[in-house]
């Protein structure tokens, strides 16, 4: 029944360039998870209201469930898989989350980390707790109640580095 043509998408994700053919309606979140097998980005609501699927598109957080893969042709994306070293060593931001109990079930964590990374890149000194809370206000976490996430982000800033 479908006469809709697939489109070719060329996109750089975590520094590697991929070329794939996709249906126009394929969500970016599904594209990352299925076509590129980068399952670190999670979906929790699939209608743009929770931020769990946040990734960096050309350096800015976006809700990946609200973009179609065809829209990121030529773009550069960073997901949670870009943070740790190639041998798996956690980067400073991830380590700060580990040190400060910034995660419990881990499901929102990729979205939280990418949002934190964006914030710390722009505010390397961490800012105030209120500013940190504001920065993550668009990502829902049901486990932690946010307090230890705020502490993790502040600790990452204090460690002298963002992500």
């Amino acid at each position: 029944m479908s006469t809709i043509e697939n489109q070719l998408v060329t996109v750089t994700v975590n520094g590697r360039t991929y070329e794939r053919e996709v249906e126009p309606r394929k969500a970016l979140s599904d594209f990352l998870r299925e076509d590129l097998e980068l399952t670190g980005t999670h979906v929790a609501c699939e209608h743009g209201f929770c931020g769990v699927c946040n990734i960096l598109l050309d350096g800015q957080t976006v809700r990946s469930c609200l973009l179609f893969a065809v829209q990121v042709d030529g773009a550069s994306i960073e997901t949670v898989e870009s943070l740790a070293a190639s041998d798996g060593t956690l980067n400073a931001l991830q380590q700060a989350f580990n040190d400060n109990a910034g995660l419990q079930c881990g499901y929102c964590t990729p979205g939280m980390l990418m949002t934190a990374k964006e914030y710390l890149d722009a505010n390397p000194d961490g800012g105030t707790d209120d500013e940190i809370r504001e920065a993550i206000s668009g990502v829902l976490c049901r486990c932690t109640g946010y307090q230890q996430i705020v502490e993790s982000i502040r600790a990452a800033a204090s460690a002298g580095k963002g992500a």
Partner: protein, 815 residues
Amino acid sequence: MEIEQDPNASRIAGDTAPGDAGLRWIGKSINRVEDPRFLRGEGRYIDDITLPNMLHAAIKRSPHAHARIKSIDTSKAEALPGVVRVLTGQDVKEHANPLPSFSMNPGIQHDMIAIEKVRHYGECVAAVVAENRYIAEDACDLIEIEYEVLPAVLDPLKAREEGSPLVHEALGKNEAYSRTFSFGEVDKAFDDAARRVSVDLYWPRSTGMPMDTNGAIGDYDAGTGVLTIHANSMNFTYFLWLIAGTLKIPSAKLKIVPVVAGGSFGSKFFMHKVPTFAGWLSLMVGKPVKYIEDRVTHIVNNDHAGSDRRYKAELAFEDDGTFQALRIDCVDDYGAYLQFGVGTHGNALSQICGPYTIDHVEYSLAAVLTNKNQQGAYRGFGAEVSNWILERLVDHAAHDLGMDRVEIRRKNLIQADAFPYLTPTGNIYDSGNYPGVLDKVLADFDYDYWVKYRDDARKEGRHVGIGVVASQERSVFSSTEFWFWFDEPAFSPTSSPESASIQIEPTGQIVVTLHSQAMWGNSPETVVSQVIAEEFDVDPTSVVITYADSQHALPGTGPGGSRYTVMVSGAVAGAASQMKDKIKRIAANKLEAAEGDLEFRDGGVGVKGAPDKQLSLSDIAMMAYMFKLDLPPDMESGLATQWTYDHPLTTLPNADRSDLGMFYPFVGHAWHMAVVEVDPGTGRVEFLRYSAVHDAGTVVNPKTLNGQIIGGTVQGLGTAMLEEYLYDDQGRVLNENFEHYHLPSSMDVPTMTIGHQETPSPYTAYGIKGAGEGGRMLTPAIMSAAVEDALSPYGVRITSLPISAEQIVEWAAGD
């Protein structure tokens, strides 16, 4: 009081009691060992798993709350390219049995797909299996269903009346259960008491709402007849034979593989519908099938709505504030099915009198079925609701007397010398020092300062309010709470064990296998690692944790009821004890020493006071696997032990249920104190201060425990201020997505200070008590108290949740 305990359980409690020498690893805030993989995005949640040739399922949901299915035309759906199979209730009727239920009532039948009628908005009416989820959803849209819409039963009070439409015709009525329990002499106590206060309260439906929904992959191997189901929600390994019954396969051919869950809060607690459904789909199409609930489906169809209750309650007390008796009458709107029977009330009865010396209590319950998604478990499992009721009554009693709300509570606290304390219902509180917790929170909170602050603010026209709340935190349920409601239950299990096995590899590495789907966002691996480190003096990060599938699993109940940390610690301690016995025998034999002279140190075992007489765990393990002739003559090869740790303190109810027995005996205690400021113009509530002190016995890991406390508190905040299922008059859920079902964000919640007190349990390994549910047990009561206090110029009484902005503005407007 004298308590008789299972000798194995008491031995484990005794061997692991926090001793004078202190604990080395238990009590340390080590980093969670689970974290690294989640931080790297390598969590392997259910939707991350792909099997070869896997297909994808989607369901069609009923648009009606109550309707007969007249016809289903699947032809257009079947014709859509990429669709493999379309299934309806008729297929379920032909090829499967009903889903199991703890309510054991044949009049209340629950099926994977609605068969002749739908009983709630969002119930599954058809399923599509297709090449991908996109096509499956397209096909669902093409299924044409003719309904005969029936009047929806939505009001539990009306549902009880003669002539109401019936949710289950076979049951013959909507009131599934009705009984009054009486403990002590309630009527007399009320008559004798000088005063009483009464409340009518309403606690509406909300739900745990984890970010990761329920999902499963069914994978049927026709060759062996084994059905493997990968699932993020199956616990109770010893009940899985019931699932096999639904699927009409031999239970020995069912293999459930546990998968990490991104949160549960109860909603994955024996959540069997989704895994059974995925397994059944695979049986039907002969290929692996993945089914993941989308968010809307999860909201309307998740089998785990929280409590939805109307209460009339009274507290009898004296002029000096002494509490005498409690009377509670509850109508509980269960929804369309009754999977846990009325177990959520069992929970309440474990601590119905709270931390107070109240000797007489009456509890009347009517459980009513309606056309809504059924209730299940949500953090607190009903005890958070009864805490709210009790604390509201206590606040009103204080107001009635003009007595300070802290002082009236202090006056009635069970004292530290009263433990183990027998509550009126028969459950016990194992240990506690409630005044100690209170003093700690007062010191942290600076109560007098905030009272003055509030009073000064009031003079300036600001609406500042203080709330204080005390709560019990019962932990580790027994299975009796699901059936002691009935004098002659159809099925009355008394088991709720947890298991662990330990293997030491020839290289000396310790591998612990857990026998439940245990990882919900709690810290099972960290707890186990800390216990192993404590037992063997090894680095906790060196322990390898694996999970057994159900074919290889010992009995395990899994998390829920704040039990997992306690139970897995007991199981690991038991297996460790056996392991250490064997190691000592091997070492004693090899080192020619007495077993009593050996100690575990530095990742090995050696003779006390003789540092050179040491064998590493690798030395021991090598002997055990490779050098049989170096072992004691009667010892078999291998170095693996296992332990099934039963609930250490369960007793039966008596015949007339005037004594429910001990069913939830490890009870923690907590106080929260908060200051809020309310904007009467917009209804927004801001936090000025929030202090919490919890006593959950011996704390394994303070950092992770704080996370549970904060997370639970914030969920309670959602219940108190934001969350509620909204229905129209036809029973359709109006807020079936995140646009309109509001979860707390980082800007809606306080920053808390948290203190701990540790009054160990005499009955558990290391004296640990469970604490995972705790915070949520307190927040609804504290928000009610604080907002009521803030709005006291308007004489407000909070009688229902959530406390919405609109309600606050209306009170302040007074017109």
